[in-house]
Symmetry: C2
Subunit: 386 residues, 2 copies
């Protein structure tokens, strides 16, 4: 039970700091990362990132990506896709290129460049959406450009994660050797997505009629962990499978509010906490790291790149420069995907503790920066004119 006491400590401190952050208007994720920093080797040294924590962190990643797949409404993408695709692409390409450029100057290797670019370019706009709702601006042109762009952003982020993790896991192989399982894996997943949805509807009909009352709940967990294990076996990161599982089961889960809530409780209330805290456990905040030149560079690249990319990507479709700037600001938040990609890179020895720390601080900064900047921006520019 000693191991369980470690989990308990994480849970108590993470949830307390998470609630504190929420009350300050910041995402609870930040509090959960800080709990890891405080309890981990950086400060108190009470909890280590040991094998148990690693399993719970993995389950947390699976839960997070499963839920983000389950909450993604692909049917909503049917409408006018051009502005959001252009915005998403702009918002990704600019920070990606900037990251690669600066990385080149510092002499990083190809795989390091790709990881740095990817980490800088993936968005997690849950925070922007909440801010838009708070400001009652979700139904403005700026609002839905951000939300739609974010869906593409997420999808591209997942593909980037797939490509990069397959590179990271098989570093001894050539690019081509990596490409084959990747392409095969993605092809199988695409087939699963298109075929799976209908089949799952039948399976869920049966699960609802099962004698075991918890069958729909268990089925979701089994399919989530099952596809996660499958993608791991074919050489992709298990997070991809969890996301696809969520995407496929999403419509079934959304049919029953109780089921959606119960799985959300498990994911956000319990498992995901261990992932966010483990990021805090992994980074080593020391005077060396904290005053490293890397941190300001990463933050500037991360924020400036996204704002510029979102601005240029949406400029053609917005009436005013202010509206485009707001779109760029709205794309700034980084979240779980950036953390997942950088923790994969760290665990596989591609990036060091310094860069992991810098990225984590970028995530924290962007999450605090965005709502403030959006509030000011909407006050300054006329949002209705878009």
């Amino acid at each position: 039970v000693d191991v369980i006491i470690g989990l308990l400590l994480i849970l108590v401190v993470a949830k307390a700091l998470g609630e504190l952050c929420e009350r300050l208007g910041i995402s609870s994720m930040i509090g959960e990362i800080l709990a890891g920093v405080i309890l981990g080797p950086s400060l108190l040294g009470f909890v280590d990132f040991d094998s148990t924590m690693s399993i719970f962190a993995d389950l947390g990643i699976i839960a997070l990506l499963f839920m983000s797949g389950a909450e993604m409404r692909m049917d909503r993408l049917a409408g006018s896709a051009l502005p959001s695709v252009s915005t998403a692409l702009g918002g990704m390409l600019v920070p990606f290129s900037l990251g690669c450029l600066v990385g080149l100057m510092f002499g990083l290797s190809l795989i390091q460049l790709l990881f740095l670019g990817a980490i800088l370019s993936v968005t997690s706009i849950g925070i922007s959406v909440r801010t838009l709702i708070d400001l009652k601006k979700l139904n403005t042109k700026v609002g839905y450009t951000i939300v739609e762009a974010a869906i593409f952003d997420d999808l591209i982020g997942i593909v980037l994660l797939a490509v990069l993790s397959s590179l990271a896991l098989e570093q001894d192989q050539s690019l081509l050797q990596n490409l084959i399982p990747l392409v095969v894996g993605i092809a199988i997943l695409l087939v699963l997505i298109s075929v799976g949805r209908k089949r799952l509807e039948h399976l869920y009909e049966k699960a609802r009629k099962a004698r075991s009352h918890e069958m729909p709940y268990v089925l979701a967990i089994i399919i989530g962990i099952g596809l996660a294990s499958f993608t791991q076996l074919v050489g992709l990161h298990f997070a991809i499978g969890a996301f696809v599982a969520g995407l496929i089961i999403g419509p079934q889960i959304r049919k029953e509010i109780n089921l959606l809530e119960s799985l959300g409780d498990l994911a956000f209330g319990f498992l995901a906490t261990f992932f966010f805290a483990s990021v805090g456990l992994l980074i080593a905040i020391s005077s060396d790291n904290l005053f490293s030149w890397m941190i300001p560079i990463i933050i500037i690249l991360g924020l400036f790149g996204k704002i510029a990319g979102g601005y240029f990507g949406s400029r053609h479709f917005m009436k005013s420069k202010g509206g485009s700037l707001l779109v760029g600001i709205g794309l700034c938040p980084r979240g779980e995907i950036a953390l997942i990609i950088s923790s994969i890179a760290f665990i596989n020895g591609i990036i060091g503790e310094g860069l992991l720390t810098a990225v984590t601080i970028l995530v924290i900064t962007s999450v605090i920066f965005t709502p403030v900047a959006m509030r000011l921006g909407f006050r300054r520019f006329d949002p209705e004119s878009g």
Copy 2:
């Protein structure tokens, strides 16, 4: 993720066999134990009882006892307690004494005798209650004698678990040295029960108003694991703390059906499965064990002892011998507490694989036997006359 694949295998096979058992009218627990037998060293050898499985099994015990505490309505015990106390005591003392007697004949040590007696005497009448409901006999005198006796049985079982596990964990100490932390621990728990309930009501008021949507859910998990860790620290088994936690939070959880469901999903749909399967992983079914003389002896002692004990304990309060016999049959099912006590005894080297296997087979037998015997019994005797 290799570890996670082990968990996945357990989950898939356990839930499939569990559902099969439910359809056959047997408790799904049996299917989950069988999944462990099939996947474990007894048959296929795909999954081991390793450190990860042990953590999940422990979390399963915590979840099970938390929920059984949470579902226990102590306020319902206010009524006429004498018949149920007498029935519960009879139903425990007879198999306990029989177990000790037979154990003495085989030259077991004192602690082994106590464990054997305890394992034989604890009941888990969920199965009887369901059978009573199916037969529409819950509101007969036989029905409520069984249900009320079961609540006392459960409480005595928990106390037995507390005493025995403190003996098992500190075998090198004298009985008196064991007794002090035990008494202190139980005293603290009793104070917690009486004081905690009111305090928790305030805490839960706050949790419901928290910004973090999952706070009431997390709070239940934290208090469950927290009290479990506490009892472990003072030298009692952590299962006791989990049970007390459930007992204290119960009224708060029952206020919100969604919360109760969500925690039930986590407990019965996910975590408890790993405990039941781990029992199957721990026992080694070999030709040696399976044809051991221990199995028929344990089964006869277990079933006959309970029927006789329940009969004599209730005889004074029932109008007919048939009614008393039905009460005895209704007390027969063994379940998670018997399995928890025997797995503690096994892990601490008090009982061997042979006895663990025999007890597991007693659990399986009693669960299959009871509904059939009750159905026949109610047909044979007039239940209304009690």
